[in-house]
């Protein structure tokens, strides 16, 4: 045990478990390609591209972290590399069966890691604090994107898309944590330590109005999943800065009221709710998608069919909303638990990063990004396994979808930048640790 005390708890920069991850991915690639060849498909050089992109970006990340002396915990980038790998595996598997996951569409998400590296380089060493000034601009942009999309976008499957099938609304996932962190950290508004029962009128009014406006725009787009995960992220930030649980009360009230409104005025909302509470009430209609998804899970069983053994074409919207069912069928319950653990570790890392912050803004940003991401995971997977109603948001790192993958890459880049002790805070933290 004495050796452990001398050595740091986690190995320093360098390998990031890259070797074992590469071996895993080699096995995955062989399994996926083997299954596709046995199905009678002809593999091409292009099918190797996403795997190559993963290898290059992972090695690139490791290289950059080493060369520029990454100071944070190495477990965090290792988790990102592993998640990106699982995503490449699942999408490569679907590329054989699903039209919407082929060619370029399969390549684009693999580039998310490049964004992580870029954003980390840009905002490390405390530079992220400079974003604080732009909180109001971020908010305005967060309003403009859905508003513009309402005017210029096209509807498909109930949601609104920009030309080219892009979903720019995803950018709101970056803008809102930035805006909210800046807003709550602003000393003028005095959010710190304020419970609901000692609220200040001005800032609270701003918060309510701002949130209502954004919600309205997102609900018009029927992007209810986005509303839910932004609300979760905002609530986490609000409780984190005020250190008072009293703010959960109006949040619960708004959730109940909003839920009632959705049920009352949105037909598809009510349909999804019955599909959730009793999928067997209308198995061939409202319950169809969810039941096909869990049928795939059941077919996979404990150890799964192995990559390529499942039938992703049997799961409606298997490439994005229900990608977890595709993964769960082939990876089995064991593989699913491992993936859930991986997301759990990401959350734990996010918590560590948040608690290592000294400035309010970066602390709130870490809290907002972590809560938003893990909220997205729970809402997506919860929809598949019928813990929650289906809301139609993608699973970070795994789902098909370029915009979503890039936005996740940017968010993780911000978190990676936050995971290093900033230059300004470095000295004080060092002192504190010495005192202990």
């Amino acid at each position: 045990m004495s050796g452990r005390r001398n050595a740091p708890a986690s190995p320093r920069n360098g390998h990031l478990l890259l070797g074992p991850a590469c071996l895993m991915m080699l096995a995955a690639a062989l399994l996926v390609f083997g299954a596709r060849v046995r199905e009678g498909q002809v593999l091409t050089l292009w099918d190797l591209v996403p795997w190559g992109l993963w290898l290059m970006s992972s090695c690139g990340l490791a290289l950059c972290l080493t060369v520029w002396r990454y100071q944070g915990p190495p477990a965090f980038p290792s988790i990102l590399i592993l998640l990106a790998g699982i995503g490449v595996m699942v999408r490569a598997r679907m590329a054989g069966s699903l039209e919407e996951v082929s060619g370029l569409r399969e390549w684009v998400p693999a580039l998310g890691m490049a964004w992580t590296i870029l954003v980390w380089c840009l905002f490390r060493k405390g530079r992220i604090e400079s974003l604080r000034r732009f909180w109001f601009l971020s908010y305005i942009l967060a309003l403009l994107i859905p508003a513009a999309l309402l005017v210029f976008g096209t509807r498909f499957r109930g949601a609104v898309y920009a030309p080219g099938g892009m979903t720019p609304t995803e950018l709101v996932k970056i803008l809102i944590p930035l805006a909210a962190a800046g807003f709550f950290a602003n000393p003028d508004f005095q959010w710190k330590g304020r419970s609901l029962f000692r609220f200040r009128f001005g800032p609270t009014l701003r918060l309510v109005m701002g949130w209502a406006l954004l919600c309205g725009l997102l609900v018009l787009q029927r992007d209810l999943g986005m509303v839910v995960l932004l609300a979760f992220s905002l609530l986490a930030m609000l409780i984190a800065i005020t250190r008072s649980w009293s703010w959960a009360l109006p949040a619960i009230g708004a959730a109940v009221g909003g839920g009632w409104l959705v049920l009352r005025y949105f037909e598809h909302g009510a349909r999804r709710l019955t599909a959730w509470t009793d999928p067997f009430a209308d198995p061939t209609g409202a319950g169809w998608q969810v039941l096909q998804g869990v049928s795939g899970l059941y077919a996979g069983g404990l150890t799964g069919t192995g990559p390529g053994g499942g039938r992703p074409d049997r799961i409606p919207i298997g490439s994005s909303d229900f990608v977890y069912a595709v993964y769960g069928e082939e990876a089995g319950f064991l593989g699913s638990v491992l993936l859930l653990f991986l997301f759990g570790l990401l959350f734990a890392q996010g918590n560590r990063i948040a608690s290592n912050q000294h400035a309010d803004f970066s602390f709130l940003l870490a809290v907002g990004i972590t809560a938003g991401l893990v909220g997205q995971v729970i809402v997506n997977i919860g929809g598949v396994v019928t813990l929650l109603p289906v809301t139609g948001i993608p699973l970070p790192y795994i789902s098909q979808g370029g915009t979503s993958a890039w936005v996740t890459g940017i968010l993780m880049g911000l978190l990676l930048a936050l995971s290093e002790p900033g230059t300004a805070a470095k000295k004080s933290s060092g002192k504190k640790q010495k005192k202990k």
């Binding site: 409780i239 049928s295 192995g306 053994g309 699913s336 608690s355």
Partner: protein, 534 residues
């Protein structure tokens, strides 16, 4: 355009048989490697120092997320590992999941048994998947129904579908088998067997007795309401379903279960209910039965007795039965007597009798079953003392009154059960449930002895079987000009301590004593001789 060369180099490697085994090894390696990485990362994460206590992700949010992740795992395990426990889910997958490797397709529905454990239906593994095999073909066609991958479900097969697929965890052995099932994916697991109340030899006897005639036979256990036999003709063979079966749909087709869904005027068998209602009211009336019949106003045609028409056909004149009491009137089945009796008894008492039988609201024989196992209500509410002629017609089982053979059998069963009407049961597991009370036990005993007189000295004399006292009532239901009337015979056996109530209906069979009675006698006598009635 960038060239995109195919990678044929790899094809022979994957096509090799050795790849199959290698791929299993690779997959195990992948999962183990994944698990090892997770373990490693967990150790790293736990080893990292937490930051300042001033800045923390709120504890409640952390709790919420971890509980959420745990709930995801539990919920997923409920589908992925314990899905076999959810009968509705297995049923869904068998119907709508097209993955041929899904183990749900290998789950077999349980056997359907008669009350003594004779197998009536079982699941067989065939080349084209699992098929239901109906051992006795058309004999049980209507009540048990069918379960067919193309044509769907009907009857008990439909109502009990989920039960037949189910598997409850009750004992330690069940848990062990669940664990084993998770590993070997439950090859050919079978659902629990279902005991029906049906009696195979009795059903077979009844089926053979009715052969060739359109109609129905129902035999009920008097005390419990258990359906011991139920025949409807024409029928179909559930092993040979095809488009032709479904093309002949509607009232003429073989798919209709006449015993439950049939709507027939009951004719004179209904007089048993009128007699019970009248006796329950307390009056013992002696009424004249003139040959010119009885009517309630000059504008309505008189209701006469069959003997009048018979005599008229033969060119004789009929002098009427004279004054009759209830016992005598039931024995000779006098329409004139019962039309008067019904009007004198009054709408309220008759309605009480109908609702006492439980006929005023639909009776579901099996919850969750198709409408084929739902007994429709009899409209008894429209009786009114303001419309005496309708009451007179109701009292002889004609007019707007329509009943099913099961309802007539239930009427007999109520008389045999001391006046209490029992809900018909088709499964042994269904609880006994009284539907209501037709009359007191004393009245029921009186009615029973009158029905015994019908067989010893009345219209049902041919039903007399040496050694087995039978009580019964004939029925001849007119269905319009130029068509033979429906023929009924219903009764109780043995008459002194009734155990079985039976009802035979032959569509357009003529007089009740002419066609339904011989069939009833055939069934009861064979059953008695072969010992099923003991």
């Amino acid at each position: 355009m960038i060239p995109n060369p195919p990678l044929h180099v790899l094809t022979p490697f994957f096509a090799d048989e050795g790849w199959r085994i290698l791929s299993k090894g690779l997959w195990v390696g992948f999962l183990l490697g994944f698990a090892w990485l997770i373990l490693r990362l967990t150790v790293w994460t736990l080893g990292e120092r937490a930051g300042t206590p001033r800045h923390r992700m709120p504890a409640g949010i952390r709790l919420l997320v971890w509980v959420g992740i745990g709930a995801l795992m539990v919920k997923q395990a409920g589908w992925q590992l314990l899905g076999r426990q959810n009968e509705a889910f297995v049923g869904f997958m068998q119907r709508y999941d097209r993955r041929e490797f899904n183990p749900a397709h290998r789950v077999r529905a349980g056997k359907i048994l008669d009350r003594n454990g004779h197998v009536l239906v079982e699941s067989r593994v065939t080349d084209s998947g699992i098929r239901r095999w109906y051992r006795f073909g058309p004999i049980f066609s209507h009540l048990i129904g069918y379960n067919h991958p193309v044509y769907g479900l009907s009857g008990i097969e439909s109502g009990a579908r989920e039960t037949l697929l189910g598997r409850e965890l009750r004992s330690r052995d069940d848990l062990i088998s669940l664990g084993a099932g998770l590993l070997d994916r439950e090859s050919y697991a079978e659902g629990p067997a279902l005991y029906t109340t049906l009696d195979l030899p009795l059903q077979r006897t009844a089926y053979e007795a009715l052969a060739g005639r359109n109609g129905s036979i129902v035999i009920l256990d008097v005390r419990s309401g258990a359906v011991r036999a139920m025949i409807s003709q024409p029928d179909f063979d559930p092993n040979r379903l095809g488009p032709s079966v479904f093309n002949r749909s509607g009232s003429e087709g073989g798919l209709v279960n006449r015993a439950i869904q049939g709507r027939y005027p009951p004719g004179s068998v209904w007089k048993v209910l009128i007699a019970a209602a009248s006796r329950q009211k307390g009056a013992d009336r002696t009424l004249p039965t003139p040959p010119e019949g009885f009517t309630t106003s000059p504008s309505t045609p008189p209701i006469r007795d069959h003997s009048y028409y018979l005599a008229k056909e033969q060119g004789r004149t009929w002098k009427g039965y004279g004054s009759l009491n209830l016992d005598e009137a039931l024995t000779v089945s006098s329409n004139v007597y019962f039309a008067q009796l019904g009007v004198l008894t009054g709408a309220a008492s008759l309605q009480r009798a109908v609702s006492g039988m439980g006929f005023t609201s639909p009776v579901t024989l099996m919850s969750g079953s198709a409408p084929a196992l739902r007994l429709p209500a009899i409209a008894g509410d429209d009786l009114s003392d303001q419309r005496p002629y309708a009451i007179a017609q109701f009292s002889i089982g004609q007019g707007e009154l329509l009943v099913s053979p099961l309802q007539v059998a239930m009427l007999m069963a109520a008389v045999g059960n001391g006046g209490t009407s029992m809900q018909p049961r088709v499964l042994e597991s269904q609880p006994l449930k009284p539907l209501g009370r037709l009359c007191t036990p004393a009245v029921a005993a009186q009615i029973r002895s009158m029905m015994r007189n019908v067989v010893t000295s009345g219209t049902g004399q041919k039903m007399e079987i040496p050694g087995l006292p039978v009580a019964g009532k004939t029925g001849t239901a007119e269905i319009g000009q130029g068509r033979n009337p429906h023929s009924w015979f219903a009764g109780l056996v043995p008459a002194d301590t009734p155990r079985w109530a039976f009802c035979v209906l032959v569509e357009e069979g003529g007089y009740g004593s002419a066609s339904a009675l011989p069939i009833a006698r055939d069934v009861v006598e064979t059953a008695y001789r072969d010992g099923f009635l003991r």
